[in-house]
């Protein structure tokens, strides 16, 4: 019997598997009649999922964890039986900041180790002149946008809470805010970085995957109690999404996928293809940067909700003092990512290809991540906090 489902989403390229599952008939094959509801804020998506107006939602991975742990908001246990997307973000800065970073750089600015040192020098210069601190936009307190910016800044010795301002900014306002100087840079998902580049108001400094090689970005989130009462529906949903992801990954289907996504997002098919293949212009008249890992929709086993990724997200939550560290919370966080459900549906563990990352995250600085020893991992960053480059380094 056909089942009706309401699923909330935010118009972003990492909703591709969900959009294709519905618009290309994979959901219908599973006898799921899905109504996709486009939303304007993550708060809306979370709240409507929480109170049952949505049966499922395209959700920021860290929000699924925060909601389940009751951090920052009412506690509603969620589960993620399917990972919709890995990576897909980028850090974009204003042409003015890009020029400042370029002149402060001691090497190739496309290397995040170089750019974070350059940032620290720019921050120090501004401070010594008594100028306003730099302001960066991100999309939500519990998001990789927040954590990727912070990770990148802190690696070079910039304290994201003391030395710069970090503000939440809805993605549709990002380019405009960059143009009118409200922010000097931002971290956001696709297609919003390209929007700023096309308008000539921003330069893409880094792809998110240059900061963190593999990071769970969006999951399909369900209320835990709903999932327990509707196991058959969960199975069908995961199967439809898995098939959709495979379809997305076939080069032959690119045009069809691009047209579905472009229509839902109100953007051009060309930009969707550029995003999915990781070929983005970094400046309006500038070069195209290519990285096959820019966004992963199911490729390399990324559909599987990986508990290591959940632990990583929880470690970021703890690192930036959004929640305390405890074994109990760590275990609860990992239980949100239900690899067991995914494995049961697709028939055994998927082949996961972590590339050359040894800890399956692959950050550009610091030690390897050890999910069993978050305290030890964070201790490294605590002890390295005060190492700031001195002003004398500036040329």
């Amino acid at each position: 019997m056909t089942q009706k489902l309401r699923i909330g989403y935010i118009p972003l390229v990492d909703a591709t598997a969900l959009l294709v599952a519905v618009d290309h008939g994979f959901a219908a094959t599973e006898e799921l009649d899905i109504e996709l509801v486009r939303e304007v804020s993550w708060s809306n998506v979370r709240d409507k999922l929480n109170i049952g107006l949505f049966d499922a939602a395209h959700l920021l991975s860290p929000v699924a964890i925060a909601s389940s742990l009751g951090i920052g908001h009412v506690r509603v246990p969620l589960i993620a039986p399917f990972n919709l997307g890995f990576n897909g973000n980028a850090i974009t800065v204003s042409p003015r900041l890009f020029t400042m970073l370029s002149s402060a750089a001691d090497g190739d600015l496309t290397d995040p180790k170089v750019s974070t040192r350059a940032l620290a020098r720019v921050v120090a210069q501004l401070k010594s002149r008594g100028a306003e601190p730099l302001t960066f936009g991100m999309t939500f307190p519990f998001s990789n946008h927040n954590y990727q910016l912070r990770f990148w800044m802190a690696a070079g010795g910039v304290d994201p809470d003391e030395d710069v301002r970090l503000v939440v900014l809805p993605p549709p306002f990002m380019a405009e805010s960059l143009a009118n100087g409200q922010v000097d840079g931002f971290c956001v998902g696709a297609p919003w970085n390209s929007s700023a580049v096309n308008l000539g108001v921003g330069n893409i400094l880094h792809f998110g995957c240059e900061i963190m090689t593999r990071v769970s970005e969006k999951v399909l989130a369900l209320r835990e109690n709903w999932a327990e009462e509707n196991t058959d529906m969960v199975t069908r949903l995961v199967r439809a999404l898995t098939r959709a992801s495979r379809f997305v990954d076939e080069a032959d289907n690119r045009d069809r996928v691009a047209s579905i996504v472009a229509q839902r997002l109100g953007t051009t098919p060309e930009l969707v293809v550029r995003t999915l293949t990781g070929n983005l212009k970094t400046a309006r008249e500038g070069p195209v940067r290519t990285n096959g890992s820019y966004i992963l929709v199911g490729r390399d086993g990324t559909n599987r909700p990986d508990p290591v990724q959940a632990a990583w997200a929880y470690a970021q939550i703890v690192r930036w003092r959004q929640a305390p560290l405890s074994e109990e919370l760590r275990a609860a966080a990992q239980n949100v990512f239900r690899a067991d459900i995914f494995d049961a549906v697709v028939g055994g563990p998927a082949t996961v290809d972590c590339g050359d990352t040894r800890d399956s995250i692959g950050v550009f600085a610091g030690p390897e991540f050890e999910p069993g020893d978050i305290a030890g991992y964070l201790a490294f960053w605590q002890s390295n906090r005060v190492q700031r480059p001195r002003l004398s380094v500036v040329r």
Binding site: V40, S41, S43, P141, D161
Partner: protein
């Protein structure tokens, strides 16, 4: 609490405190915000402020330091408010209305109406129930008005199309206005269509034959 409690016309202390609650309205629709503000003032809330635009939203809210924040759900800036719940923030920490799950009916009603409320920590839920109820009814009233207005606008548009089609027929077929309308109406009836659809076809045809 005020000192003139025993003065003439004083209300019981609880109510007096409520009327002094500082309320901020964040709504992209200036008309709806005005309707809501009026409603709150009529209900005796004297400290109501509207915050328009998105520039430096958080700073402006902090400067106002409200005890209740009302925001429409179509507003992408709702996510901006989430920053207020961060542990590292030293300021008063508001909690979302959604915190109280015991009252899911009113939460549902609020979400359906398209409004969300945030209250500062420690403020008793009962004290803002009336505010939320008022929001819900005003938001719903606004939605009704909006759809009536859309309907009226649509009707006016249709009127214009029909008038123009009549003009085309009158000129081309040398008809009177009554006759032109009768032709449109009969054709619509025969083809089981709306008069405006036939009128639109006449205009399109006239455009093509120009």
């Amino acid at each position: 609490m005020r000192k003139d409690q025993s003065g003439p016309g004083a209300t019981p202390s609880g109510e007096q405190r409520d009327s002094a609650l500082k309320i901020a309205i964040v709504d992209e629709s200036p008309i709806r915000a005005a309707i809501l503000e009026d409603g709150l003032r009529e209900a005796g809330f004297t400290q109501v402020e509207r915050i328009a635009g998105t520039h430096n939203l958080l700073e402006r809210i902090y400067a106002l330091d409200p005890e209740v924040i009302l925001i429409d759900l179509e507003n992408p800036s709702r996510d901006v408010l989430e920053q207020m719940f961060q542990m590292s923030r030293a300021v008063k920490r508001p909690v979302a209305m959604f915190v109280d799950q015991s009252d899911s009916a009113s939460i549902q009603a609020a979400v359906d109406a398209g409004v969300s409320a945030y209250i500062v920590g420690g403020l008793k839920k009962e004290r803002v129930t009336s505010i939320l109820d008022l929001c819900i009814s005003r938001f719903n009233a606004f939605a009704r008005l909006q759809s009536e207005l859309d309907h009226a606008k649509g009707a006016l548009e249709e009127r214009k199309i029909i008038d123009r089609a009549k003009g085309v027929l009158m000129q081309a077929k040398k008809m009177t206005e009554e006759k032109a309308y009768a032709v449109l109406r009969t054709t619509a009836m025969n083809q089981n269509k709306k008069i405006v659809e036939i009128a639109q076809s006449v205009l399109t045809a006239a455009e093509l034959l120009k």
